[in-house]
């Protein structure tokens, strides 16, 4: 990075814009959680097509590494919430149907 060239996207204004876009996107994700998530975000995160616009806004306002970082953070938070969930069926590890059980 050359001297004098200041990266403005990490300064206060850039950060604020990024945080705003990020919060808007995750709010949309919560709001549209009953829709089928079809679009692919960065770290295995899926989101419904209704949030495409806010996602584009998020990606445009934040650095790609930041987007990835926030997506990862969101997934980790969701995972923890899943473990703390009151709904018994959704808590704990997912029980997958066993493909074959041996019966004599």
């Amino acid at each position: 990075m050359a001297d004098g060239a200041v990266m403005t996207d990490v300064l206060a204004q850039g950060r604020a814009a990024c945080y705003k876009a990020r919060d808007a996107f995750y709010a949309c994700l919560e709001r549209e959680s009953d829709k089928k998530p079809t679009e692919i975000a960065t770290v295995g995160l899926l989101y419904p097509a209704e949030c495409k616009k806010s996602r584009a806004d998020f990606v445009a306002n934040c650095r790609p590494t930041w987007v990835k970082h926030f997506d990862r953070q969101y997934c980790a938070k969701k995972r923890v919430q899943r473990l703390l969930d009151n709904d018994e069926s959704r808590r704990g590890p997912i029980s997958l149907p066993q493909p074959y059980t041996f019966k004599p």
């Binding site: 200041v6 403005t8 990490v10 650095r63």
Partner: protein
């Protein structure tokens, strides 16, 4: 002992005698028993005499023993008493020596953190550890491209020094040392830090110098999430409080907020000035 031998002898002879009894034609073993018995009797008498003699000896011996035992016992007692007394004296901890040991222990138990460095500030002036001497310093290692924790920590540092100045009237030098010198040029640092507080000194330098100070202060840093030219740096977000002698007094993690941080710093300053 002699009695038992006697019994054993008679027993053996008794046994042999009984086994030989059914053949009375042989009189030899029986005769030997008689002769042995007789000789034993004489030896027993000899022994009695010897015992009498030894009893006399013991009587005179025990009387002379007392002359040795009493002074020895007295000496041992006196020695034990003095030993216990000196031991107690040695174990008594006087007030000033207690203070000394506490300060000494604090110096000994301090982790080996910190060391000399040679970095450049945002104006391009050389800054070494001797420039920090004489002032309390709050040191933070970070980078300007940090998405969330970095700005929060710098904000906390700015708030903390404001609280310290307004509430406790004490000045502390805040320092931001970049661990990403490839991207954090002096101009970038200046633009970044003046948004928080212009008193925060930004330090950068050649990669080797930054790596050296990061290792001296046990700061973890690792380049992660590379996307093209862009990357994040995973690092330990710790703040170090350095006293005027450049000793690392405390280290604050992200769990402190600004007021807790300033209170903890003030407590350390008070402790040091006592």
């Amino acid at each position: 002992m002699l009695n038992s031998r006697l019994v054993a002898l008679s027993l053996r002879h008794g046994l042999s005698a009984s086994s030989w009894v059914p053949r009375p034609t042989r009189s030899y073993p029986l005769r030997s028993f008689v002769s042995r018995g007789y000789s034993n009797g004489t030896r027993r008498r000899d022994h009695n005499l010897a015992r009498q003699l030894s009893d006399d000896n013991e009587l005179s011996n025990s009387q002379s023993w007392i002359y040795y035992v009493i002074p020895t016992a007295l000496l041992v007692l006196a020695g034990a008493a003095t030993f216990i007394h000196y031991n107690d004296e040695k174990r008594v901890i006087s007030q000033e020596s207690k203070q000394d040991t506490i300060t000494a222990r604090q110096n000994i138990n301090r982790p080996a953190i910190g060391g000399p460095f040679k970095l450049y500030d945002i104006e391009g002036n050389l800054v070494t550890e001797s420039d920090l001497r004489g002032n309390w310093t709050l040191m933070y290692f970070g980078y300007t491209s940090c998405p969330d924790v970095g700005p929060e920590e710098v904000q906390k540092m700015a708030d903390g020094i404001n609280i310290l100045e307004s509430k406790y009237n004490i000045k502390i030098t805040p320092i931001f040392i970049t661990i990403d010198p490839q991207r954090d040029a002096p101009a970038q640092l200046k633009a970044y830090l003046q948004e928080f507080d212009s008193r925060i000194k930004g330090l950068t330098g050649p990669i080797d110098a930054v790596r050296q100070i990061a290792q001296e202060y046990r700061v973890f840093f690792k380049k992660v999430d590379e996307i093209g030219q862009d990357y994040l740096v995973e690092c330990s977000h710790n703040m170090y409080l350095l006293d005027p002698n450049l000793d690392t007094v405390r280290c604050f993690g992200v769990e402190y907020d600004a007021s807790q941080l300033s209170d903890a710093i003030m407590a350390e300053v008070r402790k040091a000035s006592k």
